[in-house]
């Protein structure tokens, strides 16, 4: 990636984040009434509400609020929660690793499962295993993630007591939420892996490698996997959004202290700075991850590295 490409790319990322910030800000402001009233519980006297309004700054005009928000955000200040005095930046950054570890593990396992299942299915298309893999993909894709999470808790937490039902406390806590996300994410990846294996295996260089005397497993493991994993990496980049959405649901069900739960909880009390902060950080993570995916792609594919596509 040349310097120029890099600069353009970074510019794009900034624009995307800016667009997301803007949309989030105005959607939140325009869709509801007075946040100051929503911050205070029922029964709060009007003058206290007015006080709150001044305190959280919603008494100023929208453009002023927006520019203040942008200005503060540029300086790294995401503001203060409407509820209490918590710093949004600190709260969101504390939640971020929890979401990232969940999503990261889900991606890791999904990609591994997709590669293995996709490869085995592509080994003999139309065979029994291929049918089983496609069956799994179809079934998993048709399963609503939240439903699966509920059922997993019912069986493994409440009945068998094998894994915790909520929270992030030990490695066991990861099992059920990660499983839920993997089931949600792996079907698409598995199908892609299978298809890209099939396509790769039809490439002349695969036949050429076999003609050179390489055993099938080696052709498959070295030549096939390396080439076939590229579309999967691209797809993971595209699926990050889906994963984040899934994380919201999973975090809500498992009480996972991540960004998704933070946003949902903040919605309940119209804590706009917190929602905005959560969405902003999600967007930043998202564009950065996509950037990383592209870098990874570049590392794996020398053609892209040399600037050809």
């Amino acid at each position: 990636m040349t310097g120029r490409v890099l600069v353009t790319r970074l510019g794009h990322m900034v624009l995307v984040v800016l667009a997301v910030m803007t949309i989030a800000f105005f959607v939140l402001r325009l869709a509801t009434g007075d946040p100051a009233r929503l911050v205070n519980p029922p029964g709060t006297p009007e003058n206290i509400i007015a006080q709150t309004r001044a305190q959280i700054g919603t008494d100023r005009s929208l453009p002023v609020q927006y520019l203040t928000y942008l200005g503060d955000a540029v300086r790294g200040d995401l503001g203060t929660s409407f509820r209490g005095a918590q710093s949004v930046g600190r709260t969101v950054m504390a939640a971020l690793p929890n979401t990232l570890s969940l999503a990261g593990l889900a991606i890791l396992f999904s990609a591994a499962i997709a590669l293995v299942l996709g490869a085995l299915a592509a080994w003999r298309p139309g065979g029994l295993f291929d049918r089983l893999v496609l069956g799994y993909a179809a079934l998993a894709q048709a399963t609503a993630p939240f439903w699966l999470a509920v059922m997993l808790i019912l069986v493994f937490s409440l009945r068998l007591r094998m894994f915790p039902a909520i929270d992030m406390s030990s490695w066991r806590s990861f099992v059920l939420p990660v499983t839920t996300l993997v089931v949600a994410l792996s079907p698409v990846l598995t199908r892609t892996a299978r298809q890209s294996f099939l396509e790769t295996l039809n490439e002349p260089y695969i036949k050429a490698a076999r003609a050179r005397g390489l055993p099938n497993w080696r052709v498959f493991a070295v030549h096939g996997v390396k080439s076939a994993s590229m579309p999967i990496i691209t797809l993971i980049g595209l699926q990050l959004g889906f994963l984040l959405a899934g994380a919201v649901v999973v975090e809500a069900i498992f009480n996972w202290p991540g960004i998704g739960k933070l946003i949902l909880d903040s919605l309940a009390s119209r804590d706009f700075p917190m929602i905005q902060g959560g969405i902003l950080v999600a967007a930043v993570v998202f564009v950065v991850m996509n950037f990383v995916v592209d870098l990874l792609y570049t590392l794996l594919d020398p053609r892209v590295r040399a600037g050809q596509t």
């Binding site: 006297p45 003058n47 909520i166 919605l267 917190m274």
Partner: protein, 538 residues
Amino acid sequence: MRAIPSRSSRSRSRIVVVGLALSLALAACASDDPGADEEPDPATDEQAGDTTDGEPAAGDGQAVRFLMAENFWADWRPYSSTALSQKRLERQIYDYLVDFPSGDLSQPEPSLATSWEQVDDTTWEFTLREDVVFHDGQPLTAEDVKASVELASGTAGESAYALTWAPAEVEVVDDQTVRITTEEPFAPLLVELWWTPIVSAAWLDGDESRLQSEPNGTGPFRLVSDDVNVKTMERNPDYWGEPAQIETLVWEFIQDPQTRLNALLSGEAHAIDRVPPEHLETIENEDGVELLGVTGIESVNLYVRTGRLPIWDESADFRRAVNLSFDRQPLVDNLVMGSAEAAGSFLPTNTMFYQEQQPPFTADPEAAAEALAAAGVDDGGPPFEIWVAEGFLPRAVPVVEAIVAQMQEIGLNPTVVTSDVAGLIDDAFGEDGTGAMYHLSWASAGDPHQAAAVYSSAFAWYFGDEELDALVDQGRTTLDPSEREQVYAQLQEHMWEQAWHVPLYNSDFTMAHVSELEGIIVQPHSFRTDFHRARLGN
């Protein structure tokens, strides 16, 4: 006054035992504590000076996790909200001048005040406990009480408590003595003081942001970590009474009842809040978990905003028709379940001077039709919205759905609008709200004034009914109990007749906890859960 019903005889007996223990808190000796025989209580005064950060002594280090159903509304500015979640948190951090551990509102017990006397109709004198220190190390003085009470009652600034308080002046007699004076006689003074946390004057006069983020009280716990949805407290080793047994107490907001139940059943939480009726049976059948509840403290109604549905404001017949359009009892029996009761008055059943009104509102299609005709309505009247919040009051949405279905049967034109709590609050109290009725609740501490004040001109549910307003005032200022009872009898009758709102039922409040967690108190007249004497047994 009603006795305190509870779900199981075992938990009832605990309430009584612990309640007694608390009433004797000053003199409490270790043998009164059911768990004290098994292990020595390490939290003695000798150790009180130790830092709590250090390694806890044997049998110590108990951490208890409590899952709340209500979000933590506001910051720590005292008296800025009437939110129950806030009051429940404050109960652990702050102390109050007086306490009513038995639930009997005629039996006040000393707390921060060791004694008091009513000087005249409008003046009370309190003697304060010595050697009480705030969490920041400053001693409690009369100045703190003055600052707290004057702010709470609305004399010294904005206060949400002013709704049920009367403006009070506090005179500092000496360091340990205060005199509280109200303009008019104020009958529920002691009960109000039971709800009014005593905050450090230095804090109240000091930095605003410190006041918002660092509560400084004298209570058995102090706040050590303050996240949006998780509040972590630690035992206050310098507590003037017997220190708490729990080392760390975590309050966490989890909106979903099923998630709360899952956490309790899988052993990840020690106690959960607001058990929905559908879970009662599960918990009863499960080993190692128990229910703990109080009844009839919360009045759940469809509250109506004036000006939103003109015919409501104008026609008592229309209001009567709506009130006669559906049955309360099946809602209670099949949906709310538990120990809820169909509303017999606009005051909650466990309120002092509660009187069941006659005739009760039931579904009476003929009478309703007559009332509609009398109101001059032939097409069922204009359409109106009934708002209900999901995930807060038990079974709220099905209840409203059931009511609406019955209303539609007699020709009324309601629609259900579901929202979250915040959206409902915004619509109800905002200027651009579209709803007419709101499914909400109002709890009282047992004194009728607290229950009735919300219908007076001091609050948004007021319909300009001056007679009602006068009765509320009268109830507040009448000191003689029997005269006061008469006032409230009149008030309840008047409200039932006018039916400015749609009374539904009095709900119970049920929490659940693991059996090892002993000694939680749900205060009978408020559901301020008290963890002071709670401990993890075996």
